[in-house]
């Protein structure tokens, strides 16, 4: 048996490793995607004052600290049985949508976009943000940097810091915003809406108008049938900050709908000895290994998943784009992994529109942004949609509010099994009879980049190329061939 190692796939929370084993015919026998890192938050947070959890757990991820901060803050509301004043809830949601605008912009233009804008086969020297700027123009490049930075300004205005926010408290947020700040946010939001519309148009022109890409999106290599998960509001529309978790089966029928407190009835996590990351799955379907389909509990929680579980978008322009996406791709649910990029842009438009709506709410500048909790703290679960998946924080405390137990199911982790499946499919589609196509490097990369910039951050950041290498070993693990991405 021959062993192919791809090591390391760098990502923001550590490094990943892919081991590909070929059978005697030279076809792919099996693929192992390994995550070699662990921190131990579930243990070392014990004994901490629970109100400090938004500060501590934001350090799980420096790319999406806002998501951990918000899931944690919502868990605190539940732990202390306190309902924040309306302005506080709106400020949190505004903060959170601003974060989404920044995060989705980063992903499309810097991480994933180069594949589509420059093409999967473009020379790697061009397949980065600088190449994108060269193709779409310097003005557009400057606009990308400006719109990302403006959205981060809003995050800092409400959250207190650009990286690792500090505003979250049980029962509210630490400070209100002024009318001057509100007016600035409204101005930024208006511009973000235009920017999102421009981005969707760009995707139309460059991707959908190109037959090669359109075929790639629909190809079997990038199609996996799984369950889907995402937060929805009371009308089953996408919401990032609050609502109920809805799960649909591979046919698109509702399989489950649950509130944060009920998450344990629906999720379980499988452990393997060769990776530090667990595999969440749908408890009521069960763990059948790293396979898709209706009989396997593997689910996905991505931008595409959120659109698949929803019945629409809550803002008008995003709703039009939502309908157009499904009409173009042949109805719901869409199983094409690469369509996640399109779904992300629909969400970008929604986030910008939602920012704008919230910035115009009369009570958004209310000084009443805190309700001091009076109940004895005990236990609570907080759920938000992180850009990379449904994020669950669960805390139990003693009567003094010191943490006794913590459980976390983190954004990317939801997709751990599905990412492994997608990588295997890409490898199986490309490695035949011992011929490892050079295209494998980028095609495998594209399979996981659709899910998550945490795996893909390595790939297209300034001046960005993917540190991907395929080593082919024989059974004695002697190096036969080493390929670098072209």
């Amino acid at each position: 048996m021959t062993n192919v190692t791809i090591n390391p796939i760098t990502r923001l929370e550590g490094h990943g490793k892919i081991e590909i084993f070929l059978n005697n015919e030279g076809n792919v026998e099996n693929v192992y995607f390994q995550v070699p890192e662990l921190r131990g938050f579930e243990k070392f947070c014990e004994g901490r004052p629970v109100e400090e959890m938004p500060d501590i757990t934001s350090r799980i991820c420096g790319v999406c600290p806002e998501a951990h901060h918000m899931a944690s803050t919502k868990a605190l509301d539940a732990v202390f049985h306190v309902d924040p004043p309306p302005a506080a809830k709106k400020l949190r949601e505004l903060f959170y949508n601003a974060f989404y605008v920044a995060d989705h912009t980063t992903h499309f233009y810097i991480l994933a976009g180069p594949d589509f804008v420059m093409g999967p086969n473009a020379p790697k020297a061009e397949r980065n943000i600088l190449g994108v700027i060269g193709k779409v123009g310097r003005d557009v490049g400057a606009s990308v940097i400006k719109h990302r930075s403006d959205a981060m300004d809003v995050v800092a205005m409400i959250g207190g810091r650009r990286i690792h926010p500090t505003c979250g408290l049980p029962g509210g947020v630490s400070k209100p915003i002024s009318e001057t700040e509100r007016a600035r946010i409204e101005e930024i939001a208006k511009s973000e809406i235009e920017f999102a519309k421009f981005t969707l148009k760009l995707f139309d022109d460059l991707v959908l108008g190109n037959k090669e890409y359109a075929n790639l999106i629909r190809s079997d290599i990038y199609t996996t049938q799984t369950y889907y998960m995402g937060l929805v509001d009371d009308q089953n529309r996408v919401n990032f900050y609050d609502g109920e978790v809805r799960v649909v089966d591979p046919q698109g029928n509702e399989f489950a709908k649950y509130s944060a407190a009920e998450y344990q009835q629906h999720l379980s996590e499988h452990v393997e000895p060769w990776t530090y990351l667990k595999y969440p799955y749908l408890k009521k379907v069960g763990w059948k290994g790293l396979v898709g389909g209706k009989d396997s509990g593997v689910y996905r929680a991505t931008p595409l998943s959120r659109l698949n579980v929803a019945e629409g978008m809550a803002t008008p322009l995003a709703q039009v784009e939502y309908k157009r996406m499904y009409e173009t791709l042949g109805g719901k649910p869409v199983h094409a992994t690469l369509a996640t990029h399109w779904a992300r842009l629909v969400e970008l438009l929604y986030a910008a529109e939602r920012m704008h709506e919230l910035s115009r709410e009369p009570e958004i500048t209310s000084q009443n942004v805190r309700t001091i909790p009076t109940a004895t703290p005990d236990e609570g679960v907080g759920i938000v949609e992180a850009p990379r998946g449904t994020l669950t924080h669960h805390y139990q405390t003693d009567e003094k509010g010191l943490v006794k137990k913590v459980n976390l199911i983190v954004g990317t982790t939801n997709n751990h099994a599905a990412i492994s499946i997608s990588i295997k499919q890409a490898a199986q589609g490309l490695i035949k009879k011992g011929n490892v196509s050079e295209g494998l490097l980028n095609m495998v990369e594209m399979a996981f980049r659709a899910y998550d910039p945490c795996f893909g951050c390595a790939t297209h950041t300034l001046p960005g190329q993917m540190p991907l290498e395929v080593n082919i070993y024989n059974r004695q693990r002697m190096l036969l061939q080493s390929l670098r991405r072209p």
Binding site: R39, G40, L169, V271, G401, Q465
Partner: protein
């Protein structure tokens, strides 16, 4: 003269230090014209083997963020030390252990038990715990060893400079970059990219007498935004913490949690804060003092949140 060669690496960290560098935006583009980046796994196509092949001391400066929590982290720290003229501990984790060093309040075994066996969603009837080497039917798979104790960078290799902060704030990152480019570095062992004074020195709040009768937790009070938080009974790490961040948490009406590490000349930030706080207790009566002190519900997690590995305590007894 050719540009200085730089490397950027992350170990046990969240990635926030890398984002702090990317936040430089156009400034980063300018800096990249004056510095040749030879290794940056987050952004560039370079492999460990490329670094291994470099001559010793051929990298002018390496920025290392993250604590040392696995055998891979340690290997990379040693490798970059060997290859670099200057090694900089960048950010709270490399400097003091950061949040990951809170793992030193527990142990590897307790962490594994909690994560892989105990949590309510874990389904692990066979009690499987990840192993550094595993046999699968196709062959052997390996992952790095997870250490029982989290260490700082300088508890692992010799370090030249320290940049505090979780993460270091933008203007300080820029200042550090410009210092490195200019080549005008201070004496070895210096903390750079921060103030030489305490956070209180740059905090705009009005300081009173700090007579604390009762310690208040953040969720229990609506603090006055103009007055020192310690005057209002909220524990703020300002007196024991180095300035340089601009007191941004205080501007958001939240206390400092100490991410910029100890004030100059102090080794143990927690001990410094403890003594500062105790001297503010407003009582001469021992019983009363004891009662106020009970308001400090989590001394380790409060006073050593970002620096347990570097502190005199370092870790809980096994």
């Amino acid at each position: 003269m050719s540009n200085p060669k730089a490397a950027i690496y992350w170990a046990s960290s969240c990635g926030g230090c890398e984002i702090a560098m990317l936040e430089l935006g156009m400034n980063l583009v300018d800096i990249s014209k004056k510095v040749d980046i030879v290794f940056w796994p987050a952004a560039l196509d370079f492999k460990y083997s490329d670094v291994e092949a470099m001559p010793n001391k051929s990298i002018d400066v390496s920025f290392f963020n993250g604590a040392i929590q696995t055998s891979e982290n340690e290997h990379m720290a040693k490798l970059l030390r060997e290859k670099s003229k200057i090694l900089i501990a960048f950010g709270a984790c490399a400097y003091g252990g950061g949040i990951p060093a809170l793992a030193n309040t527990t142990s590897r075994e307790q962490i594994f038990t909690r994560v892989y066996k105990e949590t309510p969603t874990t389904d692990n009837p066979d009690g499987i715990i990840p192993q550094t080497k595993s046999q699968v039917k196709e062959g052997e798979l390996t992952i790095p060893e997870f250490y029982n104790t989290v260490r700082t960078l300088n508890q692992t290799v010799d370090v030249d400079y320290y940049v505090p902060g979780c993460p270091p704030v933008g203007e300080q990152v820029l200042a550090v970059m410009n210092t490195v480019v200019s080549g005008k570095l201070p004496p070895k062992g210096s903390v750079i990219g921060a103030s030489d004074k305490s956070l209180c020195d740059e905090c705009k709040r009005v300081k009173g007498e700090r007579k604390i009768k009762k310690i208040m937790r953040t969720y229990q009070v609506l603090p006055d935004t103009e007055k020192c938080l310690l005057d209002q009974g909220v524990i703020c790490m300002g007196p024991a913490t180095r300035g340089g961040c601009g007191a941004q948490c205080l501007d958001a009406n939240m206390p400092c949690r100490g991410c910029y590490g100890p004030v100059p000349g102090v080794l143990d930030q927690g001990a410094k804060m403890l003594s500062a706080l105790a001297s503010n207790f407003d009582s001469e009566n021992e019983e009363e003092i004891q009662k106020i002190a009970e308001g400090v519900v989590d001394p380790i997690g409060t006073f050593y949140r970002y620096g347990l590995a570097r502190s005199l305590l370092r870790r809980a007894k096994a």
